[in-house]
Symmetry: C2
Subunit: 447 residues, 2 copies
């Protein structure tokens, strides 16, 4: 068995390592266009925040280790340009401009996602930078140091943008954030979104929502001018963080089926429309457990899990993934932000008849020191009583709390079942009725 | 409807308040032998730890509020001595030695639990004190202040004993802990139990397991001598914390069915063997969701939830509780300790064919600052693949993490389903594979 993997990031390397663990006799070849494999992409903002840390800290495992210890044929600097399904081959070009061809018995497309590049003049100026790969991270950090950056504009207000906003403020850099959409966090219930926005602005960041960038201009001596619809922002650095796009061109050109958001369509076994070709990670779609529909929610855990599933399936195990519930957490300054499942609007669009409750609760017991306010939203379906989603923001005890409703979503629990859950209680960690139970106790009255 | 409630603690007051909210026209009478209702019993150790705080901080709601605002006929200083089921009456005596009789249409026994009193000479000496009621807490705190306590012995190593141990150390008091059982935390898997024991001893506390106390002696000038089987401990204060016993005497004398540990037997609607009499809180039993058998796990959330269920049922709603999974968390010094479901030994005793895995994992992402080690155990059933329980200890990110497997236990999930759960990930809060997923990924290989 010759198993070829295009892309040596989370999904690709998970698949490669697990295949060799399962079946050491299989030949596993990874073709990675960059020099970097197995690094903590999500850790980059935290690393950039700390001038004392090297970006190399983020490397979990070096390419040599995969080659020598795991016996993976890991070829960095190898960019695949075409998949020939009939011949069972991939073709490409190396960093040194050498053409190569590689035959496969099974193929995994793990090409990930790339930053969306807005169609704005000046987006390619020096000092305008996206953050996705380790290389991007290194460039941003070096740019900050070398140019003594004092001002930055972040275009976009997604997870990456907000994490970078905190990182830049930690470096003493003043930050403006701007995006065309009118709502700060459109997937979040308005009351909770406001709490997060307040935390960001309280940390000295300007938020300009509903304002597209029309141009970025060079203004002598390395300065940049971000021209928005209503203002001009003078800056040293622009972080372009307006979302990502699945890298599915190879799949499209090979005639494989793509679907939502242009991601490669896969079944529960991570197979594309060609039985010999799998796709996993940020380039592939998934089933949303709550809606039953296809979705594209590129996150790290799914990439790792899908990589493992592909490895097992290449080895003949027939592993089927159930899908995702869209659980996501991030931190911005002192605020922890978490979501799982559907928000009210998503629930409506998916054809449910949803009700939502938003509450405030203490993060710790009555009168316990260090308690903070948690804002919790929960959405349920009036027709079936089913739990559909939950969201939470607060400075204490938010991140891990979201996982209880996340598991309930996987189990297809009704809100009436969820309120019966026997969750932990001790004064340093929460009130007797955990905030996720309190919100469910309120929600059940509206279903 | 005249609804009489014996006991004005968590279950009793929850039932009383909710009944009046549901049906303001119902007459609700609470007979409470002490003066205190609605206080945070679990908060007492943390209050005792802080000499600046008043014990009154722990009172969530005063009796007057229940009487005036909620229109509950709350009678403190009323001790019930007998239930006459035929006549539908309870009899008792007031603090002022007045006999009283109260007729009921529906009755709730919410008498709670009392500290187990070991059969040891000297257990009634001044300076030997249990901690269960607010009155106990007040006495301990006053005793510490008035006698300038420097040394304490805690008899028992349960949650209360360990929380008190931390509280006393915070007051600069040296602490010895002693108990007859040979194992520090017998319900915890040995590797995790050792981590907790190490934390306790690292904080200057001596642990003497496997050593019964044979006597407590007075040694002049207020001093006490705890005589163990192998040593004598000179001390100023003894906290008697060797567990609690359900207060089910009234029920037993009335001929109601009791069961496990002597607790009042109730059905899913919290009805005793007499249709007009309910029981809830620490005096009543429950179904364990994992085993399907009766259990007695007296914890605050269950008491509150059962109180609500009784209220709804008295009001004709027919609420059935599914049962408990035994989720419990506590903190001792910097260590967070959490469990849910069955440990290996309990699983064997319940007739499962269990396998267990114990792992260590980082609490935060690779290379993220502030990451600490979490020790996690998970137990599954080899016959059915079902998840049976989980335990966790660590200084960071333990308490709320236990709720994900707790919900999975309620859903009856298999380990193979649990490993598919889409949990949150961000570097400040955990690794990509959350520790509860990593342990499940290992456990599935043994099932």
């Amino acid at each position: 068995m010759k198993f070829v993997i295009i892309g040596g990031d989370a999904a690709g390397m998970s698949a490669a390592s697990r295949t060799k663990r399962n079946r050491p006799e299989f030949e596993v070849i990874v073709l990675e266009q960059s020099q970097d494999v197995s690094y903590s992409a999500c850790g980059m903002p935290y690393n950039i925040a700390d001038p004392e840390r090297s970006m190399e800290d983020l490397v979990v495992r070096r390419a040599e280790v995969f080659i020598e210890k795991n016996k993976i044929n890991l070829l960095t600097g190898h960019r695949v340009t075409r998949i020939d399904r009939k011949a069972g081959k991939v073709m490409g070009v190396t960093r040194d401009n050498q053409d190569f061809t590689m035959a496969y018995d099974a193929l995994l497309i793990a090409t990930g996602a790339r930053p969306h590049v807005p169609d704005v003049s000046g987006i390619d100026l020096p000092g305008v930078m996206p953050l996705k790969s380790l290389d991007h991270g290194k460039k941003i950090k070096a740019f900050i140091d070398e140019n003594k950056v004092q001002k930055a504009v972040i275009a976009g207000m997604g997870y990456i943008g907000l994490e970078m906003c905190e990182a830049l403020r930690a470096r003493g850099i003043s930050v403006d954030m701007i995006k065309p959409g009118p709502v700060f966090l459109p997937w979040m219930t308005p009351e909770l979104s406001r709490v997060v926005a307040d935390e960001v602005t309280a940390n000295g960041v300007n938020l300009y929502c509903g304002e597209a960038i029309t141009a970025i201009e060079s203004v002598g001596d390395g300065g940049l001018m971000v021209v928005g619809e209503q203002r001009k922002l003078l800056t040293d650095l622009v972080i372009s963080a307006s979302g990502v796009t699945p890298c599915s061109e190879l799949a499209v050109e090979a005639g494989l089926k793509t679907g939502i958001a242009g991601a490669v369509a896969v079944d529960a076994m991570m197979r594309t429309s060609d039985d010999r070709i799998y796709a996993a990670g940020d380039c592939a779609d998934a089933i949303h457990v709550v809606t039953g529909d296809k979705c594209w929610i590129p996150l790290a855990l799914r990439a790792n899990r899908a990589g493992w599933a592909v490895a097992d399936n290449v080895c003949g195990k027939e592993i089927r993934l159930q899908g995702v519930v869209g659980t996501a957490v991030f931190k911005v300054f002192n605020m922890q932000v978490a979501r799982t499942g559907l928000c009210l609007q998503e629930a409506r669009e998916a054809g449910f008849d949803p009700a939502e409750v938003v509450i405030k609760s203490r993060s710790k017991a009555h009168s316990h020191p260090g308690s903070a306010m948690i804002h919790v939203s929960m959405v349920g379906d009036k027709k079936t009583g089913r739990l559909l989603g939950a969201q939470m923001v607060g400075t204490d005890g938010v991140a891990h709390r979201i996982n209880a409703p996340a598991v309930a979503l996987h189990a297809g629990m009704g809100v009436a079942d969820f309120i019966q859950c026997d969750l932990g209680y001790a004064p340093p960690f929460g009130p007797v009725w955990d905030p996720v139970l309190t919100v469910a106790n309120q929600l059940i009255k509206k279903l």
